[in-house]
């Protein structure tokens, strides 16, 4: 290299005050001139360089978001919440597809007559329950242990995921309900049981390992639907007003217990 840039010129380049043609010229020169690169390294603002490099990396080197994250961000979720939800086992496309297929079978059964509609109503509350069970905890979340040792409160993560799962599963179930043969009060009779069962399960999960709690509540629900139907000689007994009132109460009690015992989610108590 036969010539070197003057210090004043390099300083102007560093401060971005050179006109474009001169800046391009200096830039081309710097690529081939180690001496000028050394000189500019001394006068460059290192913090600014670090910021610029960070900008470049952010634009070039940040991976594209997946479908779930893109959708959530589009719906207004902050990017970190979208990432937390994208890691939720029961918010994957395959899980939601499984929910849709289960409901499709239940809707088909309802169209076939008999106790088909009861089958739909019994199944619909179990889906959000299963979704919340699969959203958080030992045995279902591969990063559960790392998450526990992290500073974000596990209860907060549980709430974020449970809310997202409840909303998504309820939306799919509500959509399926519109395809039922009779569009009366019965098509929405699963909503309150779904909320009540989920909250009671979460409350129970503060006493016993989460999967055991969700499994026990699911079995109790199925038993209750069958026993009430047999006792009252009415397939819809578990969905009529007295039972709905019971589920509202259950939801309140569950929410109260979860709020009181939320610290139990902050350390592991077994799978």
């Amino acid at each position: 290299m036969s010539w070197h840039a003057e210090t004043a010129l390099l300083e102007a380049y560093v401060e971005s005050t050179l006109e474009r043609a001169a800046a391009f010229s200096i830039e081309a020169h710097l690529i081939g001139c180690a001496s000028c690169r050394e000189q500019i390294a001394v006068i460059a603002d290192r913090e600014r360089l670090a910021r610029v490099w960070s900008d470049v990396q952010e634009r070039v080197d940040t991976p594209r978001r997946g479908f779930v994250e893109t959708t959530l961000t589009y719906l207004g979720a902050p990017d970190h919440v979208a990432r937390l939800l994208a890691a939720t086992p029961s918010l994957t496309l395959s899980w939601l597809a499984g929910v849709a297929v289960s409901l499709a079978f239940a809707v088909a059964a309802a169209h076939a007559g008999g106790d088909g509609l009861v089958l739909f109503l019994a199944l619909a509350p179990l889906l959000p329950l299963a979704g919340v069970a699969a959203a958080f905890g030992p045995g279902v979340d591969p990063t559960y242990e790392i998450g526990l040792a992290s500073s974000m409160r596990s209860f907060e993560l549980l709430l974020i995921r449970a809310t997202a799962v409840l909303l998504s599963t309820t939306a799919v179930s509500a959509l399926a309900a519109t395809a039922l043969p009779q569009l009366g009060w019965r098509t929405a009779a699963w909503l309150v049981p779904a909320l009540g069962l989920t909250l009671v399960s979460l409350a129970l999960a503060t006493y016993v390992p989460p999967l055991r709690a969700f499994g026990a509540v699911a079995l109790c629900w199925i038993a209750a639907v069958l026993l009430l139907a047999a006792a009252a000689d009415d397939g819809f007994a578990a969905f009529r007003v007295p039972a709905q009132v019971g589920f509202v109460l259950g939801a309140f009690v569950g929410a109260f217990v979860v709020a009181r015992r939320r610290e139990m989610f902050e350390t592991e108590r077994g799978a």
Partner: protein, 288 residues
């Protein structure tokens, strides 16, 4: 004077009928402390207590000067803690970058730009800069362990708890891990568990040997080696009543314990002392 970062006093933990920890006690200060012990000794349970994942049933535990049973203290500890579990789980469809980014969010790093810079920093620190955008399910076992180590380094923790960080690594990668861990330990407290006595000899300023849920040794690797001094022999033949004797690569027999006829006293290794401590020899020959 070194400050104590980890203080364990008689902690106990039961899982059903199994008594996983029966009251081990030790301290750890900045530098590397190695937990050595056979399977079932309670190392992993103890590390999970140090990582605040589990709470002890009894005993006293203080981490970074705080009490992990207190909600506020536990949060503060977690903010200054890095943890690599023995079998870290991954969201296998995530890339290495996405996974570490996810853990960074769990560590309350909500500013996207700063978080991404930190994710790149830790991935480059473990030499994964070139593969950070590959899906975890396509990475080798050694690379996955490095991803697990990278997440534990997020936000520059003061206390690093690593469960068998070198397990399953080939010799070259194990050396790279040792190099990295010794660098990290210059500024922080590292508590790691291992089956490898070579790791302890190469890395640790302090070693704690555990067996059946209790501490059976707490000191420096040099002090541990000294326990076997005068008890390790080389002989041409295997002693008939030897409880621990094996043929070395050079064709001679190494004995720990009473000297066989014509045996030559040799320098003990950390492994010799470890075997002595674990009671592989008759009680009369065991180290005090």
């Amino acid at each position: 004077m070194t400050s104590t970062t980890v203080e364990v006093r008689g902690v106990q933990k039961r899982f059903g009928r199994t008594n996983a920890l029966a009251g081990p006690s030790f301290d750890a200060a900045p530098g590397i402390t190695g937990l050595l012990g056979p399977n079932g000794a309670g190392k992993t349970t103890l590390l999970r207590l140090l990582a605040t994942v589990l709470a002890p049933d009894a005993g006293r535990l203080r981490l970074l000067g705080r009490d992990p049973s207190d909600t506020g203290d536990r949060l503060e500890i977690r903010r200054r803690l890095g943890y690599m579990p023995q079998e870290p789980g991954f969201h296998r469809n995530f890339t290495a970058f996405e996974f570490v980014d996810y853990v960074a969010i769990l560590k309350e790093m909500t500013d996207r730009r700063a978080r991404h810079d930190e994710v790149r920093r830790v991935l480059e620190l473990v030499d994964l800069g070139d593969v950070m955008h590959r899906r975890i399910k396509t990475l080798s076992g050694g690379m996955r362990r490095r991803v697990a180590l990278a997440q534990s380094l997020l936000a520059g923790p003061e206390l690093l708890v690593l469960d068998e960080p070198t397990a399953g690594l080939d010799p070259e990668l194990r050396l790279r891990f040792r190099e990295l861990l010794s660098e990290l330990a210059q500024r922080r407290t590292v508590v790691l568990s291992t089956h490898q006595t070579e790791d302890v000899a190469a890395l640790c300023q302090k070693v704690v040997v555990m067996d059946k849920g209790v501490t059976v040794f707490d000191g420096t690797p040099r002090e541990l080696i000294e326990l076997a001094r005068g008890r390790v022999w080389l002989a041409d033949d295997r002693a008939g009543d030897a409880r621990l004797s094996w043929r070395t690569g050079e064709g001679r027999h190494r004995h720990i314990g009473v000297a066989p006829a014509g045996a030559e006293l040799v320098e003990p290794t950390l492994e010799d002392s470890y075997l002595l401590l674990l009671g592989k020899l008759p009680a009369g020959e065991r180290a005090a």
